[in-house]
């Protein structure tokens, strides 16, 4: 971290700053969410250069389509993750990465690659340890959807488990996360 200060705003302040096209809005947006979003993108595309390009595209798209965000329907981060998912999946499909990626062993993905943990934010390292203790079956389903951009239908086919089980495991994983973070 060569920069000493990261700009951080409350969510309503950030949204307002982006809507008013203020420079502090774009800086806070990047400082607050670049690492979380980049983590997701990198896990989906498995390529550092492509992931950085996609992160830039994502921020530009977030900036330009902020008027489509409706805070009554959910948090800004939820909206941004959906946007990042769509952009990343579109990119993969356009480059026909989908098939090769599906053939990869999920356990070999970046998510569980210890080489990458060196780049994790220091303050989330403890959390990461805890997350590793989640029910592995539940975590696998959630990771497919959240960090691979699968739909729950695709996850059901991928893991060869019924749709209902997929839903139950997703819920179970998130309940564990809620307990963990509260």
């Amino acid at each position: 971290m060569s920069r000493k200060t990261k700009i951080s705003l409350s969510e309503p302040e950030l949204i307002q700053a982006i809507r008013e096209r203020k420079r502090i809005g774009s800086e806070a947006l990047y400082d607050m969410y670049s690492a979380s979003l980049y983590g997701i993108i990198l896990k989906i595309v498995q390529d550092q250069q492509l992931a950085e390009d996609l992160l830039q595209d994502s921020f530009v798209k977030i900036w330009n389509s902020i008027e489509h965000y409706d805070e009554r329907k959910g948090r800004l981060f939820t909206w941004m993750v959906n946007l990042v998912h769509n952009l990343s999946i579109d990119k993969l499909r356009s480059k026909d990465f989908r098939n090769t990626m599906k053939n990869q062993d999920i356990d070999n993905s970046v998510l569980d690659d210890n080489k990458n943990t060196s780049r994790l934010n220091v303050d989330t390292l403890g959390l990461n340890e805890m997350v590793n203790n989640l029910n592995p079956e539940a975590k696998a389903v959630l990771n497919l959807i959240y960090f691979k951009g699968y739909t729950h239908v695709e996850a059901s086919e991928e893991l060869n488990i019924p749709l209902g089980t997929v839903k139950t495991r997703v819920r179970l994983a998130i309940i564990s996360l809620r307990k963990l973070f509260n």
Binding site: W63, G74, F77, T78, V131, Y146, F181
Partner: protein
Amino acid sequence: MENLKAYIESGVLELYVLGDLPVSERLEVELMLKRHPELKLEILEIEKALQKYAESQAIAPSENLRPEVLAAINAEEIKHEPSVIAISTNSNFYKYAFAASVALLLLSLISLINLQSELKELNNKIAVLEQSNQQFSSRVNYMESQLSNAKQSLQIFHNPQEYTLVNLKGTANAPTASMTVAFNTQKSEVMIDLASLKMPANDKQHQYQLWALVDGKPIDLGVFDVQNDSIGMQLMKSIQNAQAFAVTLEPRGGSVNPTMEQMIVMGEI
């Protein structure tokens, strides 16, 4: 509430937050959220948990990406600035439009003034034409009346069996005077041929009076004026029989008895 619990436990809210629902099911969830605001708390908890999860798995991108991304966003802002330029060209457009309007207005005013003076001229011409037209039509009226008078005279002169023409000759008072009277005994009509009048014009105080002499007694047949250029027949009072006609100059309106000293013409039938 049991239903709501089952709804929560179905896992649909998690899929909603993950953006993993088809549009119809997403709208269903949004409808449920409106009906049951308490579900929003559940959604919020799911969102927070997933955000924390993402944060726990966060990976910082390379240091040099930050200025690139911020520059890209800034470039977007500059890209949007052409709208400002568009506005300024717009205002230029309005400037030109305004100038054009003013020029057009001036042109209209000039042509309006031109038209007005032309209109005035035309109105004057029309007034002159109307005046000459009036003169012309009064002249036509006059000629028509003269023509009908002449026709009347001609009718009488062409019927010698109906009308007896009596020539009255000047007396010692006016030796050069003369006139013609047409007399129809069947209709008891007496008419003066105005064209034949050769007598001095009477003044305003006097008029000529025509008399019929019946068995030596003068009978009044009415008064008439002598004007130059009169034509046609003037009908006088009627009488059945007469031996002679005579004209005297009398005070305006005529007299009961003729002033014999002022007898101008006379003629026997």
